[in-house]
């Protein structure tokens, strides 16, 4: 397990999502849902799109391109055109720093 630093809690207001560039594992989207933090892959599983540019609706992230939705806590794709689940990462908050726990053995680059 690798602990990947994402951002400070002060940089992510409630109900916001932020894209963290990561060349090794692929960009990561980090979310703040009512003080609870989550992390998923940032790239939509359907077409080229950064989910961090989408809107959060309740606990769903809406892709900015075709408006497909993923459940943020589980990464579950909600239906066409998003049918492949989104990879999610466990999150650890240490003081005011948010980390994603990435299984470096399982994840290929990109």
């Amino acid at each position: 397990m690798e602990k990947v630093y994402l951002c400070k809690t002060s940089e992510l207001a409630d109900n916001q999502v932020k894209k963290i560039d990561n060349a090794t594992y692929g960009d990561i989207a980090v979310y703040n849902l009512g003080g609870q933090y989550y992390a998923t892959a940032d790239l939509c599983t359907h077409a080229t799109a950064s989910l961090a540019e989408g809107d959060i609706e309740d606990d769903m992230i809406v892709c900015p391109v075709h408006w497909g939705q993923f459940h943020i806590p589980t990464g579950k794709a909600q239906g066409f055109p998003c049918e492949i689940d989104l990879r999610t990462y466990p999150v650890e908050v240490v003081n005011d720093e948010i980390y994603a726990l990435v299984d470096s053995n399982l994840i290929a680059k990109g």
Binding site: H46, A47, T48, A49, D55, P64, V65, H66, W67, P81
Partner: protein, 448 residues
Amino acid sequence: MSNIIKTLDVTDALPNLKKVCNLDEGRISGEIFYSQEIYEQELEKVFARCWLFVAHESQLVKTGDYITTTMGEDEVIVVRQKNGSIKVFLNACPHRGNKVCFSESGSTRGFICNYHGWSFDTAGNLVGQHESGIYEASEFDKSKWGLKEVAQVDSYKGLVFATFDPEAPSLKEYLGPMTWYLDALFDNQEGGTEFVGGCIRSTYECNWKIAAENFVGDILHAGWTHDSAARAMLGGAVAKVSDFPESYSVNWNGHGYEFALDTVGNVAVLGESKLNRYVHTIKPSVAERLGEFRSNMIASVSSATIFPNFSFLPGQNTVRVWQPRGPNKIELFTWVVVNKSAPEEIKEMWRKGAMMTFSPTGVFEMDDGENWEYCTKTAKGKVTAKQDLFVGLGMDTLLEETPLPGNVYEGQLNEANSRAFYQYWFDLLNAKSWTEVPNRNKGKAEAE
């Protein structure tokens, strides 16, 4: 990369056009209401060049709010931007041309084409496609393939207009002094106006010019055409317009406004005394805001058209666009306009009143529709179409000495506005560019 539509190549004028009208002699011919050839010219030289009404700002409150309408026969989307501005796009995907928005109005994060999943944000940018990897492998440049944007959009007192022509004069110049008169309905109270209810759509088998010309300056028909409807709504005949002590026909660039100064003549036909009272109640504040003269116009016997196809009736508060759908068909889009500051009860009364009178089942609208359809259909006859039609009332009634702005003619029982409307139409059909459109305005460009 700009996706703004460029000026179209304008074809030559029709060679035999001179025969169809001579406004100095006060005549037109029915051919202009039925000819497919002339209609094709109108789409190109009138509707693809002039400023056309597309929306009221009250229909587009927040980012992503949109309505769909047409500019001529071109389908467009009118949408509020993040920065508060309004953009207008062709409602057609730049991939295969499919329509991208099927709803009349709503609020959205963008528009996605049903065909290949091309997706556009509210600013018209292409943001992605289904199977986006294929496009990336072809080095496709997304920035060049956004929704095609209409060249100019501007608004006056909540009325949003757009033109396809980047070389068209500014909206301010186009409307000229007509704005002074528009204020009588659209800016008579603090806060301005709003549309209430939705858009009422109906079709008529008539030429668009017949309808637009009726509103530009034909109150003459009312006392005769609408007698029975007036008796139903008012319990009496239409006001005898020739008895009004003071009335005018004013025009500019083919736009026209004809009006009496009786304050409540139009609103009275809605048959709601509370509306008459509302008009009388606000009148002193209108006089303070716009002056005594225009406070007499709030809901008086009056009508107006902004060239080519945007019309309204103060008092009935019906606002409409005569959408061309071929030489002998229109789709009529109608809305009801009210002062934002008016009590809810008054707004609702106006909405219902407009429905009773000027909607597809409205008593006045039915009267007009029948006449307009037959004005058009008789021109199906080749011989009939070539005959002269008289449009010569009030030939020498221009008022040289008047403080009023615009080309001001004495009396509203006058065909001066109709002539000016057809003249501007004729001038546009003969002009390959805006610089070739003659300036026939004689009056003051601004109010004193």
